[in-house]
Amino acid sequence: MHPSKFEEQVKKHVESLKKLGTENAADWDERRRWWQQKVTQLLDIIDKWLGPLIQDKTVTFTRSTDSITEEALGEYEVQSGLVQLGTKQLHLRPVASVIIGGFGRIDVDGPNGSVMFILSAPDPHAPRHLLRDSAAWFISHPKQRRELRPLTKETFEQLFTDLFGIDG
């Protein structure tokens, strides 16, 4: 017996969903790898910025592996960082790649407060396919969340002293 027009219609729809799902899964796999790399690269940079303090044992910077689950990316592992200064600690915990207004977020929690590192395109109006390639890290403060300041060696050093409560 031949399938009815209705049955064919439903089967065709299911096939197209399967195809779309496979394509999306491939996109998200790539996105997850890209995000994991971005986090590792940032931790490498921070390691370098803290280099002299690490060498003379003023601070330690250790990394561990965290597990994250996101609806689109599934469950995956990503590096996190911990800066130890005396008895005080500064945690750098990746939260997610799929976020509003960017391509990833790391929460930074210190004894004197918290900020977010947001991986975002400097020009949000750039063509969509170029947005992710241009993404860079920014700092977002809890009281001025929209004001994203570029994360540089200077802004990181300022942040470090603020979050550890180190006076001038």
Partner: protein, 207 residues
């Protein structure tokens, strides 16, 4: 303003407003999710708290907004009921008209401020309940139903105090056990009961 005429404010008016705001919240939540899916910047009309938010955080944020909206509606419903009961009591200040009017007149004359007269604990609604006790033309079942409706506001008054005083103590019950529709029903049943009592006793209609 929407709710500044307590004499004519009906619970359904407040529920209408609540439904409108709920629809607005749903739309904003949808916009936030659209923004998340496209990695687009947060539009200026969406809350700052959503910068960098994940899927779960968006949902949690809007759930909290909905709870705050529900509480505002509940507060307006209870405050509206309280105003209506007090305004009605002020219209009944004729010492010799009947026992209810006599009691209400006495309560208001004793208070330094009109809003200082309690609703329960020997106050306005207890005066109504005592008056129900004097009615001879009510069956025990009707009497019990009316007394339950008049007493129904007592429980939700706890929520009114808790919200109005800045929520600095722990409520005994979960706040979600007082949804606006339930509180609106409590106010509507109370008004209906007071109308019935006034009608049974040949008193001036409840405002």
């Amino acid at each position: 303003m929407l709710f500044d005429q307590p004499e004519t404010l009906e619970p359904d008016d407040i529920l209408d407003w609540h439904a409108l705001c709920t629809a607005g919240l749903r739309r904003e939540r949808l916009d936030a999710h659209t923004c998340l899916e496209s990695s687009a910047p947060l539009p200026s009309y969406l809350a700052n708290a959503l910068v960098g938010a994940t899927n779960t955080e968006i949902d949690r944020y809007f759930k909290s907004c909905q709870q705050e909206l529900d509480l505002s509606a509940v507060l307006t419903l209870i405050a509206g009921a309280e105003a209506r009961i007090r305004l009605d009591a002020q219209r009944r200040t004729h010492p010799s008209a009947n026992t209810l009017a006599g009691r209400l007149t006495f309560l208001q004359s004793q208070a330094v401020r009109v809003w200082g007269v309690p609703l329960y604990k020997g106050g306005i609604l207890d005066a109504w309940k005592n008056h129900v006790g004097t009615l001879t033309n009510l069956s025990p079942r009707e009497r019990s139903r009316i007394l339950t409706a008049i007493g129904g506001l007592k429980d939700v008054l706890r929520v009114r105090h808790w919200v109005a005083h800045g929520r600095y103590w722990q409520l005994n019950r979960n706040i979600e056990s007082y949804p606006p529709t339930t509180v609106a029903q409590t106010a509507t049943s109370l008004y209906a009961a007071l109308r019935e009592v006034a009608n049974y006793s040949g008193l001036m209609a409840f405002a």
